[in-house]
Structures are given as structure tokens and as C-alpha cells.
Assembly symmetry: C2
Homo-oligomer: 669 residues x 2
């Protein structure tokens, strides 16, 4: 039987036959697995978001939407949940991970609420906690937590977004009066896109280049009052409203600038760098570069929470679209009844592959939250664990936010005209989630960081291996078309031409094969890029920068592959934790769909690097189609296993109205 | 020199060396080419859209936005331009093509205006013109054109979107009083998403299943008054507001339903089917199926105009993003100055490939408009030319609208936080253009039609060739992995392994090579699918439908490839029309970028079908990178050649403000 003669349905029958018997999958177990490591906090947060007072209303003006969201923060505060990550003195339990879990869930109410709460507690208050010391905690933290002081996190400038090291706002120490003088030197140095800054903020944590005794010490954070109680800018402070945005209009973003604004010396958030009364600078971290990255490290919380929030948005969208797709009928294919949309293979391709990706992102997010919790509670807080966390968060945030945006769009289109109505949520979800892919670190910039770390890791491996080991590593990984044209890799050979497609399909579902293929996509790409970027005698920094630019696209693609590999691993660990055989079999099908779509997307790469034979590559799509057919009957249970209720979905097309209309129309005919 | 050792820069130098000398490209010539076949009408339309009265305002409530757009229609009417497509008796010049050109341009003012105008003149009035006869022209047309009667085009039903043949609204003839009785049998048969229906419409062209003397004659259109002058529903008519939408909130979409609503017999728009006073049905078209498609054929105008309008949106977005990317600097790569965003190869990949695609779509649109004009003015109105026009419009609409949506999103992300501000346009453009991909025919459904026509064409070719010819055609095209594993196709062989990458790059820029590769992507795919779908003895319709479903994904992919091939051909014809050598060379680079990105996107397909060798496939991406470097210096001139002014862009980041800020910040440092 050749590949061409083997249809997806044949493979599907084969896959079904291979599935261990033993009864139906237990969706309750899957639901528990998806809930993750803080189930009680997550369920409580979901119960809170059922409150209509927290829901977004359509057709509000920007000012009305802002007022509504500001008032909603008080509702959250009254619930007590927002105090979780803070020390017990402030009503919290130091539960860093649990706190983010609760934040993620706010998206079902209104993403603006999630972001506004994130600005106030996750950025402004958290900066006071993490970058400040006892004085700041005593003087500023309670007011920030209890909403007595709304605050901005004034880092980004119009001229510098993701490149924080280059910001131009200055904070010059004046020893005569023991004050810092904050200044905005030119228009491009205005703080911009700052949440709370347009209206609500009375203070801000302002990031500026610290100068004392004529010396520069890099970026530091300062607590700066900006408005009086009546909301008027304090002397020297100015700004403007960023105005309406593409989404998230419940958040009042704005611009700020400073002209000779003086704050007491004590307002420097001095955990990682301090200035003595006489102007002497000191820091527990000697290197300015490392100090900068340590301070920025506190930002990782934002990225972790955006990844989770984006997943929440994608889940809601998928549940709405899949519920509809499972009820809606359109066009008569055969017989007398119209086809259910989800029975169209194209529809399965569009939605079920996305469902698999959101499963992968969900299991990944739980691991990310656990890592975050270990670092931020101090359970495992080392330089290495922090760096690894930042790297993981960068990869997960980029992948989850893009996936969510694309998923919402696909869901919108899959629901046709009904999907365009505001009542069915997709348009607003897309508009709101849009900026998640560029804020708290532009995804492209984040992936570049992930890519650089891959290069570093590769360099270290070569160094550790010595000359002989290096040859083996390079020989094993770099498959230049000249060098590799003679043969395939070990796994590739097992799957060489001539094998039956049934065998190829079976192999593609093996965990070891998937791991090898997904790992090679990263490692071979890095091995291809690395030699050109190694500093060498006679290569100027300019030439090296040029080379880096030439490989930027390939490096970012490798980083995305790394992000997907991490997702696949997290998914596989979740599958391996499952002990109930039929449930495990179903989860494995979904995991396989995730793996095969990742491989299919890169088919050209695998073929040009001779990591897949042509026969095997052909089997990838067929096997994927077969697995989608296997997933199809479980589509709605799998999406319901996310655990959201109608009060979270709030979409008429997911309410069963479509099914009811069809019953009526059939009865009438 | 192996493929791996050949950098994009080397190839770029090669490409530069091959470019004929003779001076700089003439952007004025390109501008003229892009303006297309109705330059005066297009320029006049652009001049009109500079009027601030026509511009969208941010932060309006839905009701305010609707009122504004309704008032804007009067401005358009006063300009006289909207009368163009109508007969001279109605103030027009029968200029079908020129009319659509003017419509396309409304997008720069507000896509809601384009759609609302399209509903009133392009659907409601056009249906009266094209489906009605003298009586309807005399009684209804002038009021529709002159906005004395706002009207809806009530075709789509809640239960049936793109499947118009299945609508359930009935129009039963009552010979006793010579009236039609319009009825909505159940909820799913409510007319839905109907523009003008929520507020403005006083009448509607209602599509319903015509029944007379107990016999069904299929879908027909009726002129039905629905509201009195005060805006109250007439007896038997009901409806509701579709409410806020994901975009296009200047259009009042709504639902309508009918209970025993009676209209005179004369209100049947009877060009393609009539009922005599005694109830006898007659039609100039015998077949009910053909009659249906002929009536729906008048809808092609909407698809043509959506394709052009989507291109307009993509152009605006690209001009904003590229202007910014050419000024904005971020991160220091080498040396002391920060890099301009557009000098990052990843940024070139993101934006310049899109620019090439919009060039392709623009030249395609002009050919589509010419075809449309020939058919609708009667210059070349045959069954075959109408079908070919519908097919072309389906392919072009699907490709242009998806491309626009993706382009706007890519531009948004490429501009980071600034791209998210409403003042910079992307968010609203995306929200508004979103529904273009599913209305007036869901893109997926349209592509399926294109795919079916490809199958028919292929079947006819086989039939015409006879048994011997069939073997040659099939043998030449179907490359099953078993059959083709021995060798590459003719062109593939010229490019087999061992060739230098410089040679491969040169070949990939040859028009004949590109045409062959893009054509093969369509024809081989169709040849692969066709055998399974051929009706054969012993194959039940159900089995055939199942098989069709199994191949749906592949068929739609083939149809997209056909759409791209058409774009490539239109682009190539435009290049060939250019006589000024340096200008032609530049246009060729852009055309090549379009071709190579289309091939790169399908690399896995080309490799698994052995249409490209591994070495050649590797050269595709390198050559594309090299061409992007060649395009880079002309990025801004190429986008300015679209001819839009600041009054069309209305985006602060494209105003030069970014460059001014940088001059200031550098002066200050």
C-alpha cells in the first residue's frame, strides 16, 4: 500500500485498533489535569468572574469603559484575592503562583480588567515590593495594594519600547538637599503607553538613568508622586492621554514627562542599588549589566501572567466556536440532512489543531507557574533558576499570545457572520489580546533572547566537549545539504522510503520519534547558525553584527521551535502522569495532533535538512488528518473540560440556541 | 560554493550585477501602473475621501457612528459619483468598472462608509436594476439611488449564510388578488446581518422560495416595503437590531422576519422569472439551477469591490508601517547609532513580502475590474464569460481579503505599542476588514467553488485528450512518491543537486521557472485529487460525498494556489508592459519576491512531490532574502507609489513625527 493509496480514514481505523481497550475516557480526569496546580484558587477566581459587575459591556465610550474598570478594581480588592502575593503584613500569603492563576481568569470578564489590575498590583505595587526595601513597603505598599494610591509603572518611553536599557529619562542626585531630580531630556524620552497614567495614577514607579557625583549607574526605579488628590499634575510633571486604542479601552494609558521633579533620596527603590546621603553609590550587584537584568527580572511576572491570560482567551473562543461548529449545519453533502460544520475536515483542521495547541499551552503554563512560584517564593531562587525562568517565560509568552490571537481569529472566521457580532465575543477578544503579542516584551524581541540563549548553550556544550567531542556534536547535528545528502539520521533511516505508510504513521506517533524530530528542528538550526556568529580574530564587531542580522530570521524560527518543543514536553509529561488507560489514549491523540501539526508546519525544513524522507513527510499530513478524525467525537467534551460555564462564555451561539433553531426548522419542514 | 556558504548578501550582489544599467527606476511610471484602468475616476475618488466629513471618528457609540455614516451617504450622493453605474436616465454613464474603482477608495475614509454605500447602491439599487425590469426601474430605482428609499438586501438567513439555495423564506402567489405572500416559517429563516435593516431601511429586496399554483420555482427576489416613513415596521414585518459588531459599526445590520406580508405581483423582480396574473410561471432560463446562478451572478459585483477595498486597506496599513519602520530606530547592533527597524531582515520579511503581495493583488484587481466591466456593460456578456468572471472574483476576493487582514495585523505588530493606538489606524482597519473574509461568500466556500471548477476543467481536458492523451497528461502531472521517486520534472532536472546556488538563484528568477512551479502546484494537486472524486459505477453519492470531504482540505489548498497563480500572471503582465528598463528591473524584483514567497510557503509540498530538489529548495529562501535586500532601498518609494496622501493615512507615526523626535534626541545627547 503506497502513501497515496492510504487515506486518513484507513489510518484512523488503524489508530483506533491500536488504542487500548478498557472503556471511555474520563473527561473529569482531564478537567482536573487542566485545572493545574492551584485548583482551588482557580475555581474561586472563576466563580468571581461570573459576577456581572465585572463583565465588559459593549458600546461604551472610552471614558465610560475606563470608569467601569476602575470601579471593578475595588470589587476585586473587596474579594481579597489580589492580596495573595504580598507578605502577611499586607494581608497576603506570599502566594506568587496562586496570584497569577487568579489573574489569568479575569480575561473571561474583561481583558481590560486583567490588565488594569496587572498594572496596579502586578506592576506598580509589585515594583514597590520587589525593587523597594522596608522603607518603601512601610510607606507606599499598603496604599498601593488598598487602592488608596493608583499608580503607573513608568518604564517604556516613546523612543524606546522593548529596549529598556536605552531609556533617556534621568534621575540626578543632588547631595546638597538629598534629593533626586527627575528630567525628561527630549520628546522621545516621554514615558508612553503607561497604564493608569492618563487619569487614575497619583504616583508612578519611574525608571530613569541614575547619576550621582557625575557618574552614571544605569537604570533604576523611583517612587514619584505625579498628581494631587484632585487629579492635577504636580509641578514639573506633565503628560497626555494615549487616547482610544485598538482594544483594552478600559485601561487609561497615557504619557508622562518630568521637568526638574524632585523626590527625596529615600524614594529610590534601593534593593539593588542605593545612594548614600553624600551621593556615594553602592549595590549588592557589582556588574551594571547584571544589576539591570536582575531589576528587570521582576518583570517576568507580567510575561507569565500574559501567557496564561492569553490561554484563557483562546479557551473561551474555542469553546464558543466548537460548540457552534458541533451544532451548526450548512450545505447538503450526501443524504437529506445538512452537514454539521465540524464534520468538514477543513473545519477540523482549523479548530481541532488549535484545540491541541491550547492543551499544550495549558500544560506548559502550569509548569511555568510552578517554576515562577519556586523562584519568587525563594524556594529555589538562584541566578541560574531566574535566568531559566526568564527564558521559559519569554518562550511561553510569545507562543501563547500568538497562538491565542490566531485561535480567536480562526474561531471568528469559522463562525461566519455570527462570529462577527459583538455578542459572540470574538471581535473584542481579538482587539484586546492583540497587544499581548507586543507588550511586556515584543514577541520578536523575546524570541531573539531565547535564540541567543540557545546559541550560548550550544557554545558551552562545544566547549565542554573539547575538540574531539565537538566534531561528534557538529557532525551529528549539522546537516548541510552536501554533507547529509548521503543519508538520513538514525530515526530518519528507520523511516526511509519503502516503508509502509501504516508503519510510518505508527512511528510518527511514537514519543521518541516526535521528541527527536522536534529537538532536531532546534538543535540543527542552532548548529547551522552558530559558526557564523562566533567571535573570531579579525572579525570586527560591525561584521559580527551584520552576520547576526543575516541570521536573525533563522534564529527566531529556531527559538519558536524551542518554544514548541517545551510545549510538547510539558504536554507529554501530562500524558505520562495520566494512569487511566482510555483517558491517556485520548490525551495522547491530542498530544500527537500537536506534535504533527508542529512538524507539518516545518515540513520544508525537515525535507531540506533531510531529517524526513519524502515518504515519511507525506505520511505526516495523512496521519494528522487521521488523528483529527479520532479527536472529532471528543471535540466538545475536550473543550468543555477547560471548565468554563455559560456565564464565562456569554455568547448566544454557544448557548444551544443554534441547536434549538434546527430542531424547530426540521419540525416545521 | 555550496548553498550553505552562499549568503543572501552574495546573492544580492549577484542580482544587482545582473540588473540592466540605465539609471534609476521611475516611480512615477509605477504609480501610473498601480492607478490602473480608471485613473481619473480613482484620483477623483481619492480627492473626495480627503473630506473630513467622510472620515471615521474614534470613540463614537454605535448609534452615533451609524448616524454619521448615514449622513455621509448624502455627501457621496451630492458628489454624483455613486450614479456612475446606472443608466443615463438615472444620471449615470453605465460605468460598472469605474463605479467599483470609486467604491474601493472609500475604505481610507471609513470602511463602514464603503459597506453602507455598497448596501444601498451596490446591493439594493443594483438588485432593482439587474434583477428587475422596466416597471421596477421606473417605480423604485430613482428613489433608491437618490436615497429617498433606504433599502436592505435581504438574502442571508440566520440558518443559511453562504448556502443561499437553502433559504427558507417563502413567497407564495395568491392568484385571487394577484399578490405574493411573504412568510418566515421558523426562527432560523429570519433574514440576518442585513445592512440598513436595523434602522434606515424602508424597503428591502427580499429573497424567497417562489411558489405558485402549488409548484416551487426556487429563489427569487421581491421588492418589499418594510417600514413606514416614521420608521415603524409595517404590519406583518418584524425584526431586531444585530447590535454592536466586531467592526463596521457605522452600518446598521439587523434581522427581519415576515408573517403573511403581501406585495403586488409586480413587485417580483422578474428579469429571470415571472408569474402571470393567473399564476403561470415563466422564465427565459429553463434550468432552475442555472437560473439561480444567473440571479446570484449579479452578486459578483460585491465580491469584486470587496477585493479592491481590502487592497486599499492593506495599502494604507503598509504605507503607515513602512514609513515608520524606515524612521524608527531600536537597539544598537553595531557602531554607535541604533538600527532602523527596516534594516532588520526579520522586519523586511514581515513587511516587504506583504508589500509584494499587495502589488500582485493590485495588478490582479485591475484585470478583474476590466473583466467585470466587459461583462456588466454587455461588451462581452456570455455564459462562459460570466462564469469565468465569477470564478476569478471568488479567487481574487478570497486572496485579497485574507492578505489584507494578515497585512494589517503584521503592520500593527511591526509598529509595537504605537501600532496599538487608535490614532495609528491598524486596530480599526483590522476590526472592519475582518468580516470581509466571510461575507459576500465565505472565503472557504468561495475557494471550494474555485477548486470544483479546477476539477471540471481537468476532467474536460482528459475527455478532450482521449485515452492516449489522458495517459500523457496524468503521467506528466501526477507525481506519486512511488512513480516520481526516480526523477524530477523537466525543470526540476535543470536544477538538480550539484548545481551552484548562484545558478539556482538565477533560475528561480526566470519567469518560465516561476510559472512552471506555480502552475504545477495547482495542476498536480488537482490531478492527485480528481481520480478519487470521479463518479463511477458502484460508487454511491454518499461514498462520493465522503471522498469529497476527505479531499476538501487539499482541494481548497489547490484553489488558493490557483488564486496566487492568477496574481502572479497579472503581476507578470504588468512587468511585461513596462518599457523603461530600470523601472522594469525593480518591478521584476518585487514580482520575484511575490513568486518566491508563494513557493517558499509550499516548500514541503514541492519537496514531497519532488518538484524541487533539496538544493533548489534551499536556494528559495536564500534568493528571497537576497531580493528583499534589493527591495529594501525602494521600500518607501514603492509604497508611496500607491499614491495616498497624509490626509488618507491620518496616522501620526507616518507623519514624520518619529524622524523629528530622533533628530531632537540626537541633538540633545
Amino acid at each position: 500500500m503506497t502513501v497515496e493509496q492510504t487515506s486518513a480514514r484507513t489510518l484512523e481505523a488503524q489508530a483506533a485498533a491500536e488504542t487500548p481497550a478498557g472503556g471511555a475516557p474520563d473527561l473529569g480526569r482531564i478537567r482536573t489535569a487542566l485545572l493545574g496546580s492551584w485548583p482551588d484558587i482557580r475555581l474561586a477566581a472563576r466563580a468571581r468572574t461570573l459576577d456581572p459587575a465585572l463583565h465588559r459591556l459593549d458600546d461604551l465610550r472610552v471614558a465610560e469603559h475606563r470608569d467601569r474598570v476602575t470601579a471593578q478594581l475595588q470589587v476585586l480588592l473587596d474579594s481579597g484575592a489580589v492580596r495573595l502575593p504580598f507578605p502577611s503584613a499586607f494581608g497576603g500569603t506570599d502566594d506568587a503562583g496562586g496570584n497569577l492563576v487568579a489573574f489569568e481568569e479575569l480575561v473571561t470578564a474583561d481583558p481590560s480588567l486583567q490588565i488594569k489590575a496587572g498594572v496596579q498590583w502586578g506592576l506598580f505595587a509589585a515594583a514597590i515590593l520587589h525593587l523597594g526595601t522596608r522603607y518603601h513597603h512601610e510607606h507606599f505598599l499598603a496604599d498601593a495594594i488598598e487602592l488608596r494610591t493608583f499608580g503607573g509603572f513608568a518604564m517604556t518611553e516613546t523612543g524606546h519600547g522593548s529596549d529598556v536599557a536605552s531609556i533617556a529619562t534621568t534621575a540626578t542626585y543632588d547631595p546638597a538637599v538629598q534629593e533626586f531630580v527627575i528630567d525628561t531630556p527630549f520628546r522621545a524620552a516621554w514615558k508612553d503607553y503607561i497604564g493608569n497614567a492618563a487619569v487614575d495614577a497619583r504616583a508612578a514607579v519611574v525608571f530613569a538613568q541614575l547619576e550621582t557625583l557625575g557618574e552614571q549607574h544605569g537604570v533604576h526605579a523611583f517612587f514619584v508622586p505625579i498628581r494631587d488628590e484632585a487629579g492635577r499634575f504636580l509641578p514639573g510633571v506633565g503628560g497626555e492621554d494615549d487616547g482610544p486604542k485598538g482594544g483594552l479601552n478600559g485601561v487609561d494609558n497615557g504619557r508622562l514627562h518630568f521637568s526638574g521633579v524632585r523626590v527625596p533620596r529615600a524614594n529610590l527603590l534601593n534593593r539593588y542599588g542605593d545612594v548614600a546621603p553624600d551621593g556615594t553609590y553602592s549595590s549588592p550587584i557589582a556588574s551594571q549589566g547584571r544589576r539591570f537584568f536582575t531589576m528587570l527580572g521582576t518583570l517576568v511576572q507580567g510575561r507569565v501572567s500574559l501567557a496564561g491570560a492569553a490561554n484563557t482567551g483562546a479557551k473561551i473562543a474555542l469553546q464558543i466556536a466548537l460548540t457552534y461548529a458541533d451544532q451548526r449545519r450548512q450545505f447538503v453533502a450526501a443524504g437529506s440532512d445538512e452537514e454539521v460544520l465540524l464534520d468538514y475536515p477543513r473545519h477540523q483542521r482549523r479548530l481541532l489543531t488549535r484545540l491541541a495547541a491550547v492543551y499544550a499551552a495549558t500544560f506548559t503554563q502550569d509548569e511555568l507557574l510552578q517554576d515562577f512560584h519556586r523562584v519568587f517564593t525563594g524556594a529555589e531562587d538562584t541566578d541560574e533558576s531566574r535566568q531559566e525562568l526568564e527564558n521559559f517565560a519569554a518562550a511561553a509568552k510569545a507562543e501563547a499570545t500568538w497562538n491565542a490571537l490566531e485561535t480567536v481569529q480562526e474561531c471568528r472566521e469559522a463562525c461566519g457572520g455570527a462570529g462577527f457580532l459583538a455578542e459572540n465575543r470574538f471581535g473584542q477578544l481579538h482587539a484586546d489580546l492583540d497587544v499581548y503579542v507586543t507588550f511586556e516584551g515584543d514577541n520578536t524581541v523575546l524570541l531573539q533572547l531565547v535564540g541567543k540563549r540557545l546559541l550560548t548553550r550550544y557554545g558551552r556544550r562545544l566547549q565542554a566537549a573539547g575538540p574531539a567531542g565537538t566534531a561528534a556534536i557538529v557532525g551529528g547535528q549539522v546537516a548541510s545539504s552536501a554533507a547529509a545528502s548521503a543519508g538520513l539520521t538514525a530515526i530518519g533511516q528507520r523511516l526511509a522510503d519503502g516503508i509502509t505508510v501504516a508503519g510510518a504513521a505508527r512511528a510518527l506517533r511514537e514519543t521518541a520519534v516526535q521528541e527527536r524530530l522536534l529537538t532536531e528542528r532546534v538543535e540543527v538550526a542552532i548548529a547551522e547558525i552558530a559558526p557564523a556568529l562566533r567571535p573570531a580574530p579579525g572579525v570586527s564587531p560591525e561584521a559580527l553584527a551584520k552576520r547576526f542580522a543575516e541570521h536573525q530570521h533563522a534564529l527566531i524560527e529556531a527559538a519558536r521551535a524551542e518554544a514548541r518543543l517545551r510545549q510538547w514536553k510539558a504536554f507529554t509529561r501530562a500524558v505520562e502522569r495520566e494512569t487511566h488507560a482510555p483517558t491517556k489514549a485520548l490525551l495522547t491523540v491530542v498530544r500527537d495532533v500537536f506534535a504533527l501539526q508542529a512538524i507539518e508546519r516545518e515540513l520544508g525544513w525537515y525535507l531540506t535538512r533531510r531529517r524526513l524522507s519524502v515518504a515519511r513527510a507525506t505520511a505526516v499530513s495523512r496521519t494528522l488528518d487521521a488523528l483529527l478524525l479520532r479527536m472529532r467525537p471528543y471535540a466538545v467534551p475536550l473543550v468543555e473540560a477547560f471548565g468554563y460555564e455559560q456565564g464565562h462564555l456569554r455568547a448566544p451561539i454557544a448557548s444551544g440556541a443554534e441547536a434549538a433553531r434546527q430542531v424547530e426548522s426540521r419540525a416545521t419542514r
